[in-house]
């Protein structure tokens, strides 16, 4: 008979480390999807996922069982991703000056006909990545959670551990930061 999550967690806490494996198996897709939002390379994604699971194992004693395990794990994953962004912020890629031909074409098409430029184009996705890479860690986190994942301020507050007013302030600053970067692109390319 398959054991429930609560039983697996209780077993791990009693010293049966092997009971942790079904939890890794079940929730790794969510952890990897979260890591892919913030990492640039597959090797970094792997590192983040490993870090999340190691922390989860070490801190399992602090899981109270009041909320689902998945929520607790996602909080841990988001905070680990934020730590990762902060520790790698010196490696933030520089500018939009070295856009590929495809990215240039996509932007050109957007300028001429904003509605016609396709959203699923590889070039558009690369532009999004470039934009996110140029944001500060806090701005990237809040833009990802608020604008891209469409989460509420309350949810972001729970995920990040920031207060609701702090989330609002950071969201305001993040949007300003994003517009500043886009203004720079527009200036470099079209002025």
């Amino acid at each position: 008979m398959e054991r429930t999550e609560a039983e697996l967690i209780a077993a791990v806490l009693k010293g049966d480390a092997a009971s942790f494996e079904p939890l890794i198996e079940k929730y790794s897709p969510r952890v990897f999807a979260t890591a892919r939002r913030y990492a640039r390379r597959e090797s970094e994604i792997d590192d983040i996922a490993q870090e999340v699971w190691l922390k989860a194992y070490q801190k399992l004693g602090s899981f109270r069982g009041e909320a689902p395990f998945e929520h607790w794990l996602m909080r841990l994953a988001v905070r680990t991703c934020y730590d990762f962004l902060r520790s790698h912020q010196r490696n933030r890629e520089a500018a939009f000056s070295d856009l590929s031909e495809a990215e240039d074409d996509w932007l050109e098409r957007f300028v001429q006909q904003p509605g016609a430029s396709p959203e699923d184009a590889e070039a558009a996705q690369q532009l999004v990545q470039r934009l996110l890479l140029n944001l500060s860690p806090a701005a990237r986190l809040v833009i990802t959670l608020l604008e891209i994942e469409d989460r509420s301020v309350k949810e972001i507050s729970q995920l990040t551990g920031w207060s609701a007013p702090l989330v609002k302030v950071r969201a305001f600053r993040a949007r300003a930061e994003m517009r500043k970067i886009l203004a720079k692109v527009a200036k470099e390319k079209y002025l």
Partner: protein, 101 residues
């Protein structure tokens, strides 16, 4: 080019293309091996941590000794002719004085 439109478009692009949730093969097994191996001991980090922990008791001992010395000197005032510098000189040069005698 309208920046607000570009911003909206790029956000829409990001929303339309969520990241994949694929997991590398045998990740669970690798992870379990890491967990069962236990945390890697970083001796330098441990040493630095121990130094930080030791700093607070050292400061506390220093403060206690200073307080004790102040209280003692207030309770038993030294004759004005024998000051601390003189005492220190005498102590440091005691060996030299003995050799000279």
């Amino acid at each position: 080019m309208k920046l607000v439109d570009l911003e909206r478009k790029l956000i829409a692009v990001a929303r339309a293309n969520p990241p994949g949730d694929s997991v590398p093969p045998s990740f669970e097994r690798r992870m379990m091996a890491l967990i069962l191996k236990g945390p890697v001991q970083d001796l330098w980090a441990g040493w630095a941590k121990a130094l930080w922990f030791a700093a607070a008791p050292c400061v506390a001992v220093m403060l206690l000794c200073s307080g004790w010395a102040m209280v003692e000197s207030a309770r038993h005032p030294q004759p004005s002719s024998v000051d601390l510098a003189q005492q220190l000189d005498n102590t440091l040069l005691a060996a030299v004085d003995q050799n000279a005698e």
